[in-house]
Amino acid sequence: MTDVTSQAPSPAQSGPAQSLGFYAIWAVCILGVILLPLIFTSGGSHTTFSLIGIAIIFALSYNILLGQTGLLSFGHAVYYGLGGFLAVHGMNAIVAHELPVPLPFVPLIGGFAGLVFALVIGWVSTQRAGTVFAMISLGVGELVASSSLILRSFFGGEAGITTNRTDLPTIFGLSFGPQIQVYYLIAFWLVISAIGMYALTRTPLGRMCNAVRDNPERVQFIGYDPHVVRYLAFCFAGFFAGIAGALAAINFEIANAAYLGAVQSGVVLFAAFIGGVSYFFGPILGAIVVTMLQLELADITSVWQLYFGIIFIGIVMFAPGGIASLLMMHRPLLRAGTLPMVLPSYLIAIVPTLLFACGVILGIEVLGAYSQGSADSTTIRLFRIPFEAASPMTWLAAVVLTIGGFFVARMTWRGIAGAWDRAAMAARERGYLS
């Protein structure tokens, strides 16, 4: 985890071509954010993009804790949720007192709410890292979530507090009623926050966070207080989580106890980890994947939770660095030009691996349909092909695919490992891999 971070490209130190490439990546991403809703124009995709944007900010803010500073938090949703609640209260107050504050500035309310609560809670909870911090965050998370049901006048009980974003003063003639306008509002804040958080990792504070994560004792020796460093990181994380929460509140026009709960905290942990905590762009990938899974998986299968668990276990076991580090593994090979040595083995492996996956999916679905018990619905549809769950042929197919697929796939995986070794060797000879 440590050494990969230090390998990340630093524009200041590398040559002009590299620095150009660095800015090009950002420019392409921003352009993508702008163009995406113009390509996919359905209302559903605008909603999806909005949710992904919010999830990205939230996941990036979480990674200030987990990835940068090594703090595992089980209660990050507290700052997200409080940001959301304050934003809704703020919006209602703006409407009630006819204040001249247009909607695009509301996320700042959320950000500062997150910051203030992080300032208060952070000081005691960041005194120690590791399990102690994790457990305090769990406790605080439960406390805040439970009090949201008791302190009804502020949190609105379990129904939450609603607002209407179109009642706020308009700016540039935008009412923010249509989803596309809300998307661009979120996209605006996404770009600002992402640049801000990236810049943070480049500051001395960002570097001290990494140092505190890796070796707090040595940080102390050179005269820094790890507690203060953790505290500052915690406050920044709270601020950006608050912005994400406020954007969610604007998007849904409601804030309720679910914003603060353990589920929300768990989802952001999933997103950051699946994406990969050791790279800045890891949580971005993770947020996209997890949001899409949340939105789509439940529509495709009723046992989505099982797949969610399996995917997560698979990532933890086989790619503990997340998707990002899987991708970044190929970077030196790409530079050395030895990537083509690996690709054929990937192509060979993909067929049996997919077959194996199909077998597992078929097995799960058959079991799921069979166990749900109602006699009339044992026909399951997988990839639009109907299967009869009760038929032995289906069971046989599932077993054969799973077991056969696994053994064949394992052989091809070994092939990948071999090809990888050769490619890495060649890359090393050319001086791209130490």
Binding site: S146, E158, T166, G177, F383, L401
Partner: protein, 412 residues
């Protein structure tokens, strides 16, 4: 076989797209309720009920010649998730949504359709609420686009207290409720109505406990016992009612339980386990053993097909009324259906008249009080295979189960 599957697997990412583009050959009703997670046991029963009702309507030729299709959306009992699912439904061209589990979800959805309809004229959606009972939905926060078929919790309390008025043996009442808006409204209405109708009844305890967090109710039972109550009124549902009754039976507490939701999933099993024969009462808008001929036939056919007992007689009323309203309006446009539904009167499943009140879109109907326990020959239906079932105790007529509303309806 293998090659076939791989080819199909490549097509996997295509799934989920293009579904909304299909022409409106059917009337789609989006069913937004939990289908996974803790609330799923209840959500699935509702889904099967609605699918059964849709099949019935389709067998009779559908609505205005179109087939009814129930499209399930999993909201995981989470208001935000519900809003996403409602948006999905809107994008798929679905104009009617129905939901029932959780007043928080209901409030969010009611707000959603109201805002959606004002921002998207010509694409209005209608929200048919079959079970969320928070009174606020048809009072302070009422919406023209929301219709409710269940009696709200205040109306149920009105019916219950009208029954209690005639039972002099009830002298000391203990209130125990979940600490959230529904539990609180049960508690405050019980206090208010009992004080008005039976000033001699003493409220010997008034407890609020956190929602779905208690694993051991014996301390609460100890308190009830110490108070000397003869009756307990509770709005608890889910495991909160099951564990409460179990703890009561363990401690040997002998009181009568007046409940809203002891008939929910697992409730009958828990009552049977605890051996509380005809000590647990429930307030509902219909019971299987009420003896109304057509309802008995319906129940029999329903159980045969779905292996469930009919929890939601109101869903039957809702779907029948939806069909009648569409036929009256001669259109499936939600705006016209909504206009037709206002003030509409029908014969409810268990017999008697029910009206969709125009002022607040609350359905007014007779309410039943029943007790759970061993059955005689006159009561053919048991619950959850326990051999015990619901027995009619009292029927409260519509006039006795009505409350005024504070709703100031904003009509489009």
């Amino acid at each position: 076989m293998r090659r076939f599957l791989t080819a199909a697997a490549v097509a996997l990412p295509m799934l989920g797209f293009g579904a909304g583009a299909m022409a409106q050959e059917t009337v789609k009703i989006g069913y937004i309720d939990p289908l996974s997670g803790g609330g799923a046991s209840v959500g699935e029963v509702g889904l099967k009920t609605f699918q059964y009702l849709a099949d019935q309507i389709n067998a009779d030729g559908g609505i205005l010649g179109k087939k009814v299709e129930i499209v399930p959306f999993d909201n995981k009992t989470n208001p935000q998730e519900s809003l996403i699912q409602a948006q999905k439904a809107a994008d798929a061209g679905i104009r009617y949504i129905t939901q029932g589990n959780g007043s928080a979800v209901a409030a969010a959805l009611s707000g959603f359709v109201t805002k959606h309809n004002s921002r998207n004229p010509g694409k209005e959606m209608l929200y048919l609420n079959y079970a969320a009972v928070d009174p606020v939905l048809t009072n302070a926060k009422c919406s023209y686009w929301h219709f409710r078929w269940d009696a709200n919790s205040d109306i149920k309390m009105e019916a219950l207290t009208n029954y209690i008025k005639g039972v002099p043996s009830i002298k000391k009442v203990y209130l125990i409720n979940q600490d959230y808006s529904f539990g609180q409204s049960v508690r405050s209405e019980a206090r208010k109505m009992l004080a008005a109708k039976r000033p001699d009844i003493k409220i010997v305890g008034d407890e609020l406990h956190p929602l779905l967090k208690i694993t051991d109710f014996s301390p609460y039972i100890a308190k009830i016992k110490a108070s000397g109550a003869d009756s307990v009124v509770t709005g608890n549902w889910g495991q909160d009612i099951a564990l409460l009754l179990k703890a009561a039976a363990d401690a040997g507490l002998k009181v009568n339980w007046y409940t809203y939701y002891s008939g929910g999933a697992g409730g009958p099993t828990a009552i049977k386990q605890a051996g509380l024969d005809h000590q647990v009462f429930q307030i509902t808008e219909g019971i299987p053993n009420a003896g109304h001929k057509s309802a008995v036939d319906f129940e029999k056919a329903f159980r045969e097909k779905t292996h469930l007992s009919l929890w939601y007689p109101r869903a039957v009323n809702q779907m029948r009324m939806f069909k009648a309203a569409a036929e009256k309006a001669k259109s499936l446009d939600p705006v016209k259906v909504a206009a037709a539904l206002e003030g509409m009167e029908i014969e409810v499943l268990d017999g008697g008249k029910g009206t969709m009140r125009k002022d607040d879109h609350q359905f007014l109907q007779p309410i039943y009080i029943s007790s759970f326990g061993s059955l005689t020959d006159k009561e053919p239906f048991d619950e959850e295979g326990t051999g015990w079932g619901w027995k009619l105790v009292a029927k409260i007529d519509t006039a006795q189960a009505t409350l005024p509303t504070t709703c100031k309806m904003k009509r489009p």
